[in-house]
Amino acid sequence: MIEVKVRYFASLRDAAGTEQETVQTDAGDLAGLYRQLQSRHGFSWPQAHLRVAVADDFAHWDDPLREGSEVAFIPPVSGG
């Protein structure tokens, strides 16, 4: 098990009920982490509609998780 920090934005934050949380996980990659959190919080977003960031930059879903990583899940954006 490793510990990571997770940040949520917009409707994902509303669904999680928090801006960020510390999570203990045995997920091997970012996709696995999202599956665990999706089932815990009941997120309606399929992974394919989201992007993911680590340490404030875009990452790939199959990037491995590391102890202390700061992960953010990014729903479709609507600026402009």
Binding site: A10, D57, P75, V77, G79, G80
Partner: protein, 141 residues
């Protein structure tokens, strides 16, 4: 030098434009997004923009750098509001100066399209009926 910024109060477009004055510039194209009173058939009362600030600033700046590479332009700036906005408020400003108008227009249009597609900013609209909701358009897949 930073060309992209998030602004938590009114965008000073005059100052941004001033930075783009250049003796070689013959054309200057700009775009402003304004908060309009309707969206998707609903009456809008006002809205709030939220951002993943650290990543939005990085991605916005990458768009500026790409535009400088991609188009024959002299300089550009973009600023995007976050926080609470009322009808008529300026939500985003893009300005591009170039020797010729074609590059200024094309660059300006490309930047606003990329900002809307890539920068992690989300719009939370409030409607006159009192309800509110996040806008999460489906991305091009």
């Amino acid at each position: 030098m930073k060309r992209f910024a998030l602004a938590d109060s009114a965008i000073d477009s005059g100052a941004l434009r001033q930075a783009l004055l250049h003796p070689q510039a013959g054309g200057f194209a700009s775009f402003e997004g304004w908060v309009r009173n309707h969206n998707d058939g609903r009456q809008v009362r006002g809205l709030r923009y939220e951002s993943y600030v650290e990543l939005a600033e990085k991605e916005g700046e990458r768009i500026m750098d790409e535009a400088m590479q991609r188009f024959d332009i002299l300089d550009l700036r973009c600023s995007h509001r976050i926080g609470d906005l009322a009808i008529g408020d300026m939500a985003v400003w893009v300005g591009v100066s170039a020797a010729h108008r074609d590059a200024a227009f094309t660059g300006c249009r490309w930047v606003i399209d990329e900002v809307k597609a890539r920068v992690p900013i989300w719009k939370h609209e409030g409607y006159i009926e009192g309800d509110a909701g996040w806008l999460h358009p489906r991305q091009a897949e």
